[in-house]
């Protein structure tokens, strides 16, 4: 997977099957343009099975839950996760997010 896709602006599939369509759909759900969302939904459903489309919607829901829980409780990144992702937050410029302040050393 091309991790740069996390930050958007990547036109390719990022090394993931139907990655470009998945990213565009996620961005449309998270955005405020209803017409764009309708278009991206149609485009995604054209390439995914119905079950995979539902799974995509479910993952979008899941991470809107955990992101809020993480940011509203001020939890730091776990030590093991810090070790496993060493350098990645900096490489992807994730430290620009205000919630990085909850993890000492970031």
């Amino acid at each position: 997977m091309d991790l740069a896709a996390v930050n958007g602006g990547v036109d390719s599939d990022a090394g993931v099957e139907h990655g470009a369509r998945l990213l565009s759909f996620a961005e449309a759900v998270m955005g405020s343009d209803e017409d764009a969302l309708k278009r991206e939904r149609v485009a995604l459903r054209a390439v995914l099975s119905p079950a995979s489309f539902v799974d995509t919607c479910a993952v979008i829901g899941a991470f809107n839950v955990v992101d809020r829980i993480a940011d509203a409780t001020g939890i730091p990144l776990d030590d093991m996760m810090k070790m496993m992702s060493a350098g990645l937050p900096q490489e992807l410029e994730l430290t620009r997010f205000a919630s990085a302040a909850n993890t000492p050393g970031m």
Binding site: V54, V65, V66, G74
Partner: protein, 247 residues
């Protein structure tokens, strides 16, 4: 409670996801640990209202939300501090800060338990609403609240120091909290985040297991659904980046 109906999406939604949404709404409408069922349903109604709140929109557009003062466009069913938490968690969670938290909980406007339960309800309901939005259906109709009093049970083993709120460490999840965490070598902080209100951790399990992969399977890269794991992680990572969530 009536069944969840996503038929307007024009696609079959798997039964376990429908059941999870139904169970989560049943959980939300019942009395919790610190809030009544009526207050918990009001939190979801207020969270939905926050999407059109002018103050929230102005704050989101500002360099710092703290510099924008005003009144929330509120239903008036919850205390002002609770309304502030609901609106901020729903619309701009990325810029919540320790100082903001201290202005709410530290200043005694809400207890830490009330705060955690409120965060849980807003977050869990946001998940349901985002699924609906993605499917292309109207937000689920909220069920009427159930009567009953909050349990007001605070787990003795929750300790401060790691996050803004006290957490139960994995080794301290015993007795009534013995079921809280998976039997994995490491229990990540996001699983412990709501542990000051153990029933909300159980609700989070219910949510995660149906929306993502079961908690104990997360470390297994082969765990998947109809989407493969790489596809799931790509979507998850992009959503979190759009939410500006560092964790």
């Amino acid at each position: 409670m009536e069944a969840i109906d996503y038929s307007a999406a024009g696609v079959e939604v798997r039964a376990d996801l429908l059941e999870a949404h139904r169970d989560l709404l049943e959980h939300i409408r019942a009395a919790g640990t610190w809030w009544t069922g009526a207050q918990r349903i009001a939190m979801v109604e207020e969270a939905r209202r926050s999407l059109g709140c002018r103050l929230c929109q102005d704050r989101k557009a500002a360099l710092s939300p703290a510099h924008v003062q005003g009144e929330h466009d509120s239903l008036g069913l919850l205390p002002p501090a609770a309304v502030e938490v609901v609106h901020r968690v729903r619309t701009d969670p990325a810029r919540l800060s320790r100082s903001w938290f201290d202005s709410i909980v530290g200043a005694g406007q809400l207890s830490d338990g009330e705060y955690v339960e409120l965060v849980a309800v807003v977050a869990l309901s946001a998940g349901i609403d985002f699924v609906g939005c993605a499917l292309g259906v109207a937000p689920v109709r909220l069920p009427p609240p159930l009567p009953g009093e909050p349990s007001r049970r605070r787990p003795a083993s929750a300790k401060g120091g790691t996050a803004w709120v006290p957490l139960i460490a994995a080794e301290d999840a015993t007795g009534p909290e013995a079921d809280l965490y998976p039997a994995t070598p490491m229990v990540p902080n996001v699983v412990r985040a709501l542990s000051l209100v153990p029933d909300e951790v159980r609700a989070l399990w219910r949510s995660s297991n149906a929306h993502y992969v079961p908690l104990e399977q997360i470390p297994d890269p082969s765990a998947r659904r109809s989407l493969d794991r790489m596809q799931m992680e790509l979507v998850a990572a992009r959503v979190s980046a759009l939410n500006q969530c560092f964790y």
